[in-house]
């Protein structure tokens, strides 16, 4: 953690010395592509298909953002694969334009590491998975257990806090990636594996006999995951934020990948949709984007709900429920500010 801070500090100093890099949008347009930081591989969120294309929930956001800027994502977005440790220096140094890598929005990352979180695209929480044979029914019974934990993440700190608060001991088994964790956990190297609940679902789905393992009921932390950009370029942050909001608003209004072209042409009486698609007023000029930005962003992979269902939803191997990630109108907490 200290080395991370040191690097971030170097970054801050260097960007001060270099006069800052203000207009990210201009840079992106000049180089002709969006450089997007993503995971090195996390089921449902970032993975390659058989043809070597990156796909996933986090990748879909990169594509939407690239489409908003360039009209379409194909050929206009490149990916940098980042680990838990390299993600923040990569963003701070300007190697990437936006980080969309299941990153938890926290106070110190926002302030101390000098990043701007543009919203939340998945509300997660940290949980535990244990073998049924361990005979544990609650996380409070894990006293003395060895726990596999990914380094350089918030889960590491949450785990320490949770065990301290409940006066329990544990033996951490530090690991780097989810794939590694699955191996160690299955080999019995640790009694429990802890990560975000979405990750646990993915992990459990990959087991040969998922029935032999149980996800404990306790969720010990809030993990709002979302895309983020560097401090110091609010215009770019606004673009990143409103692309995400546009995807959520589109779900609210039933605008889908299939009907977005038609809806964008004549949105009828819906004033908000008209404003978003540039049929009313010239809101796109405020973002310095083409008039069709919202249409293009939605056309890429569909609205928020479509992206969710395609990569991590009920019909995928992950099989995640919408839960709190449903729209506010459907019992969730997903709520985009009005487009006005």
């Amino acid at each position: 953690m200290r080395s991370l801070k040191f690097i971030a500090l170097c970054a801050a100093l260097a960007s001060l010395a270099g006069g800052g890099n203000a207009a990210t949008l201009d840079d992106v347009q000049a180089k002709g592509h969006l450089q997007c930081g993503i995971n090195t591989g996390l089921a449902g969120f970032a993975f390659t298909d058989a043809r070597g294309n990156w796909q996933g929930f986090d990748v879909a956001y990169c594509e939407a953002l690239a489409a908003a800027v360039f009209g379409k994502a194909k050929g206009n977005v490149k990916y940098t694969n980042l680990t838990g440790k390299t993600r923040f220096p990569a963003l701070a140094s300007g190697e990437i334009d936006v980080l969309s890598r299941n990153t938890t929005w926290t106070y110190s990352r926002d302030t101390d590491l000098k990043q701007t979180f543009v919203g939340v695209n998945y509300y997660d929480g940290q949980g535990f998975i244990v073998p049924k044979s361990l005979g544990v029914g609650s996380a409070l019974e894990l006293n003395g257990a060895s726990v596999c934990i990914q380094t350089g993440t918030t889960t590491e700190l949450n785990l320490a806090g949770y065990f301290r608060d409940n006066n329990m001991d544990y033996e951490p088994v530090p690991i780097e990636t989810n794939a590694e964790a699955i191996k160690l956990y299955q080999a019995g190297r640790c009694d429990a594996y802890t990560t975000d609940a979405s990750g646990l679902a993915a992990t459990k789905a990959a087991f040969d006999s998922p029935g032999d393992h149980v996800v404990l009921p306790e969720i010990i932390s809030k993990e709002p995951l979302g895309p983020l950009v560097r401090h110091g370029d609010d215009e770019w942050a606004d673009i990143a934020r409103w692309v995400l909001n546009a995807l959520i608003i589109a779900e609210e209004k039933g605008i889908t990948k299939r009907n977005v072209k038609r809806m964008a042409r004549r949105s009828g009486d819906d004033a908000e949709a008209n404003r978003m698609f540039g049929n009313e007023g010239s809101f796109h000029e405020m973002l310095r984007l083409p008039k069709t930005w919202a249409r293009d962003a939605i056309a890429e992979n569909g609205n928020y709900g479509e992206i969710f269902e395609k990569y991590i939803g009920r019909n995928t191997d992950l099989g995640l429920e919408r839960g709190v990630n449903a729209l506010w109108t459907q019992g969730g907490i997903l709520y985009a500010p009005p487009f006005r």
Binding site: I7, C10, A11, A14, S15, G18, G19, N21, D27, K31, N39, T40, G41, L42, A43, G44, F45, A46, F47, T48, D49, A50, R51, G52, W54, G56, K78, T80, N81, L82, T83, K85, T86, P89, A90, S93, G94, E95, T177, N178, A179, E180, I182, K183, Q186, A202, A205, A206, F207, D208, T316, D317, L318
Partner: protein, 366 residues
């Protein structure tokens, strides 16, 4: 009835059955004394426990043809090699455009043609082939990255074994001359040359490769003027080459130290200048002494290329992460790691065998 021979006419009889052939060999090697017997028993038990289950898992029950891990599990209990079949192109070429694979393949085949005259003395047309070897790096560069009328391919598309070989071969070819120069520099009596060589070697050797890669990938961006784009793979290639050259310099310095003073004086007395004496007398002997260590460094460098995964390059380990994240193939890391291990073993074993061959060929001692 026993046959009678005249005195001194008795033919040579074969040795007793237990003192010859396989029986004797087995007894001498496996059962010569109590310790040996115990060790043999333990080893046999171990092999019995490990080999049959492995063969069963890897070959007998293995599944080659499936589109999903669940399909694998349904078809058999063994290894799910189908994941390799599905992703073999990615593991070989990374994200290189599929319609340009031929360029990679050509570069790979030409690599061996270029290496042959360097590695072996008796290659037909060696004199002309050496010119080709000299031109090969330029040729390979244009084949892989494009240009000169070929469609350009950016380095971000490089991955898998292609990336390993590119980094490994570049590092090996680049670091040898650099290492020799640094070793000579370190022994030089010229103050500035000496100081620079020592400072470079000590700095690079004193810092882990991961740190250098991290500097190359991240910190370098802070120090370059904003907007400068400096290819990540190129940065990594430079760092790996510099890193290996510092180690090689020390290896070769060891070789130089092993040359008796008389050889230097002999070269001087022949009236040879510094470079001539080095080239004709000292270095051939010093390099000969250092061969095992040089190859050792090369093998280390080759395996170290897997570290580039932490700076986001898609070497075979990077590809494996991305593959394992596809929910279709999740949890099959054993199969993938075995395949990668086989690839590295074959490469490194070949290097090691070549070094043995070279040592034997150059062995002129008594």
């Amino acid at each position: 009835m026993q046959q009678q021979y005249e005195a001194g006419r008795h033919p040579d009889l074969p040795p007793p059955l237990v003192e010859r052939g396989a029986v004797k060999w087995v007894r001498d090697n496996f059962f010569s004394n109590a310790t040996s017997i115990v060790l043999t028993a333990v080893a046999v038990y171990f092999l019995y426990k490990v080999v049959p289950p492995f063969v069963e898992w890897a070959f007998v029950d293995a599944v080659w043809d499936a589109h999903h891990r669940n399909e694998c599990r349904a078809k058999g209990e063994g290894a799910c090699w189908a994941v390799l079949r599905a992703r073999i192109a990615q593991f070989t070429y990374g994200f290189y455009p599929a319609h340009l694979y031929w360029r990679v393949n050509t570069a790979f085949v030409l690599l061996f043609i270029a290496l042959a005259p360097l590695l072996f003395e008796h290659v037909p047309g060696r004199r002309y082939l050496l010119w080709f070897s000299l031109a090969y790096p330029v040729l390979a560069f244009f084949l892989l990255w494009g240009g000169l009328g070929l469609e350009p391919v950016e380095s971000a598309k490089f991955g898998g074994f292609l990336l390993t070989i590119v980094i490994g071969v570049t590092g090996i070819i680049g670091s040898l001359p650099l290492g020799i120069l640094l070793a000579l520099g370190r022994r030089s009596r010229l103050l500035i040359v000496h100081t620079i060589s020592v400072a470079f070697i000590e700095f690079v050797r004193g810092v882990p490769l991961i740190t250098l890669l991290f500097i190359a990938s991240t910190l370098l961006n802070y120090f370059l003027p904003p907007g400068t784009y400096f290819d990540l793979l190129l940065r990594v290639l430079i760092m790996v080459t510099l890193f290996a050259s510092a180690y090689l310099a020390e290896v070769i310095r060891g070789g130089l130290a092993g040359i008796p003073k008389g050889q230097f004086e002999a070269a001087d007395s022949l009236g040879l200048g510094y470079w001539k004496s080095m080239r004709l007398v000292i270095l051939p002997q010093a390099l000969h002494i250092s061969i095992p260590n040089i190859v050792n460094t090369f093998i280390g460098l080759y395996k170290d290329t897997t570290l580039v995964v932490i700076v986001g390059l898609a070497d075979p380990l990077g590809i494996s992460r991305a593959t394992l994240a596809d929910s279709k193939w999740q949890g099959l890391s054993t199969e993938i790691y075995i395949a990668i291990a086989v690839f590295f073993f074959v490469s490194c074993f070949a290097m090691s065998r070549y070094s043995l061959y070279l040592e034997k060929k150059l062995h002129t001692g008594h």
